[in-house]
Structure formats: structure tokens, C-alpha cells
Amino acid sequence: MGCSSKGCGTSIDGLSHLPENIREKVENHPCYSQEAHHFYARMHVAVAPACNIQCNYCNRKYDCANESRPGVVSELLTPEEAVKKVLAVAMEIPQMTVVGIAGPGDPLANPDRTFRTFELIKEKAPDIKLCLSTNGLRLTDFVDRIKDLGIDHVTITINAVTPETASKIYPWIFYNHKRYKGIEAAKIILEKQYEGLQACVEKGILIKVNTVFAPEINGEELEELSKKVRRMGAFLHNIMPYVEGEGTVYQKLGVRPPTPQELKEVQEKCEPHMSLMRHCRQCRADAVGLLGEDRGQEFTKDKIIHLQVNYSAEYRKSIHEEIEKERAKLKKARELMSLPLEDEGKKVLVAVASKGNMLVNEHFGTAHEFLIYEISSQGIKFIQHRKVTPYCHGSIACLEGGDILEDTISKLSDCEAIIAAKIGFEPRDTLETKGIKCVDEFAYLPIPEALTKYYEKYVLEKVKTEG
């Protein structure tokens, strides 16, 4: 692969090196294509409560509606309820193209409920893509069933290469009617995960590998892991920062999450070997909507249970055609992303506020997250998203605005500028004093165009005048 996933200003989603048939499969999948996630939505249905392993970063006991992380849901669904929810969401949010089962336990530790749900969705809404996310312990057992259901995408969470490291992550597993602990458990789970990966690849199922990154635990092994899964045929690697959870073993041990900079560094180490997913939002097993948003509360059990949904694949198709028209319009903007920009070897990070459709269409004050892009002679590259507390969070004045702003500034301190649809006077003054430029003149432009214009106007000009 001479011209790999980056460099020579290739693609917007880092998937351009994939064969055409695979690209087609992932093009409209928000979790697989960085570009698609601006346009299409996903949902998870929480039908799989049981788990067959214990992870030290997970505590199944803690659940509250405000807590957003994998492993936790507010409300469990039966397969029948899940399908009802899927159909309701499909009509209400027609840009939803993918339904996944990711827990809150492990889908394959609940095979009856998981496969019943998939069968019902396939029957009632055949245009919806199915996918599942598993710890891999029982993947080999079910690979034929997965293939038969037409599930094209499977995500396996693999956190280690060596059993020694794995034993620091998995204290026990339940396998073949027995609880295994320590290094024995670690050996079995790794063997099963890699075996499952291979079995899926042989069947032509696309594999994404998720890895929870805790620098002190598996930081040293990630590059090797990335190489290994690539060699075995996985097509995408998603390195996710470990998120501290209440009551977990890691919390008790004081294991710390990586900083955004550490995450960026490890991603840069792995990227020469493997396509990386950088836009993951680590959503809950019952999330609904575009990545980064969760509209789950609009579709709770009591709201959907009496709903009469008239599912119309045609209506959905017409909406998707509209979306594709929008995407085509943005094609020009997309091409800009791949134009190598003139530069003086300068690399800058810029934070962008967007609520979807790949546009600069979110105000600074209401943004829950910023998309971080790097602009350089290599072109424009998406680095990661960073969650923040919105500056205008309340209905009255921004009482705690100061503290919140401080926090946002610390999270964006390595960025040269913020590009948003609007940035108010008050935060603007503080931000600019701290050396972060506030730019709202590119409001509602496609992100790539806004970034290119920013680069031309502010970076290149500056270089010229200074030169």
C-alpha cells in the first residue's frame, strides 16, 4: 500500500484504501465512516443484559439516566419492544440506517434475545443495517448465524496482545460452564477473540476492533495490537480512551484515563499500520440518533408501547435520496479536503462546532462537543472530538459561565482557533485573551470549506506577512 490511509491528502474518512465492495458496505454507516456520521444516525437496542466476562473498567451496578457510557442502560427491552422502538425511530429519525446490539451486557451472552431481535428487525424493516458489538468470547460459536442474518459488521473489543496484560483487564470469564480467573482466563479470552476475528474475516464479515486504552495498563501494547488485527484482516481500529466509572476496580486502583494528547500520540503510533476510527463517541447500549447526540429519552418504553407505527421503507428511501443530494453538493467541499495546501511546514489544530450535516452550524454557547481538525500540508485531518459543558447551559444568565469557560479553554488549549456559527462577546474576549481565535465568519459553510478558508486567510497570510 504505497499511498496509505493518510498522507498525500487522501480521504475524508480514511477509508479510501479499502476495496470498492467494502467501501460500499460502510459508506452510510455512521460508526464506520467518519464522513457518514455527519449525515446518518444509528441506534442501539438494549436487549442483552447478561455478560459472560468481567472487565476491571466496568461496573454493571451503577445506572442513572444521566450517566452515558457503555455497559449501562436505563431500561431493558424485550425483542418485541425493541423492534417497536426501531420502527418508531426509523420513521421519526429516517436518517437512522443502522441498528446495533451492544449490550448492556454482551449480545452473544444473550443469544436468544439478540438473534430474535435481529430476526424481527430483518423481517419488518429489511432496509436497516444490522450490527453487533461483542467481547468475542463466544463469537466463533455464532459466526454462521451472524452470517445467515446478513449482519455485515461486527465489532470486537480486544484490549491486549499478551495474556499478562489481558489479566490486568479481565479478572474472570465464564466459559464452558466454568468461571476461569487470572492468567488462565486471560489466555482463553484472547484466544477466543482472535479466533472469532479470523472466523468472521473468513466469512467476509467486516470487523472493527475496539480497544479501551488505559496508558498504564495496555499503552505499550497498542501498536502491536493494531498491527496484529490488521494482519488478521480487521478493517478498522477504534482506540477509545478508558473512561473512569464509579465503583470499578480501576477507580479503586487509581488507574487514570489518558489525556487527549496521549490518545492522539497513541493513535499516531498506530496509524501507519491501520485505519483508525477517530469519531467514536463511546455511546450507551441504548443510544439513539446521530453520533454525539442521544435522543433515547424521546423513545422510552412508556412512550413507544402504545404507538401505532406505519413503517414505510419508501418514505425512508426518499429521505435518504435527499441526504445523498446534500452529500453530492458537499462533494466539492470534500475534494478541498484532499487538496494539499501550500504551507510553510506549519500544522495547526482548529476546533469546530457542528450539529451535523458536516456544516459549521452550531453556536459556541450551545456546543456539547468540538470536532478537532489538524490542517497542514498533508491536507485536513480529523483528529478527535472533545466533549465540553455548553457555555449557555441554563435559561437565565450564564451564572457559572466563568468556570465552564475555563474548563472549555483547558480542553481546547492546543487549538489555534474555534470556528462556530456564532460566538458571543463575553466568551470571545476571554478566549482571545487566552490565545484562541474566535471565528464565526464561516457560519453554515461545509466544515472542509470553512477550514480551508480559515487556513488561507489566517495561517497563510500570517506566514506571508511574517515572512
Binding site: P49, A50, N52, Q54, K61, P104, K178
Partner: protein
């Protein structure tokens, strides 16, 4: 001889019910899981260890009935 689920610790994850070889474990509409002590055999004759205990994610949630009743086995 039977296993017992401490309600205050149970997270209603269904794992034990799925694994029980005798069908001793069931749940009601509110997601409260219980073990029928007349049906449970602690997996003797089926497996080496009580399956519910082996898969339960919450330490101390499933115990022998004697422990729950008298504090020791």
C-alpha cells in the same frame, strides 16, 4: 441445598436465569429474580460449580441459602 439471590444486590441481568440447568430461577414483571429452593440443586449432577454464582457479575449477590439464612454454611 439451594442457592439464594440477595435482592438488594441484584441488577436483573438475566445471566443466572439463562444458565440454570434446572429452571429454578425465574423473574417477575418487575425484574425481581428468585431461586426456587425446592428445584435448585446447586448444579450437583450437572456442573462442577453453581452456574448462577459462576456468572453473576455482582460479588456476594448469590450465596448458599444457609449463608443467607444463618450467616454461615
Amino acid at each position: 441445598m439451594a442457592m439464594y439471590i440477595r435482592q438488594e444486590d441484584c441488577i436483573s441481568c438475566y445471566a443466572c436465569e439463562q444458565e440454570c440447568p434446572t429452571g429454578a430461577i425465574s423473574h417477575n414483571e418487575e425484574g425481581i429474580f428468585t431461586i426456587d429452593p425446592y428445584v435448585c440443586v446447586e448444579c450437583h449432577g450437572f456442573y462442577e460449580e453453581a452456574q448462577c454464582l459462576a456468572i453473576c457479575p455482582i460479588e456476594g449477590c448469590i450465596v448458599k441459602l444457609e449463608v443467607a439464612t444463618y450467616g454461615c454454611a
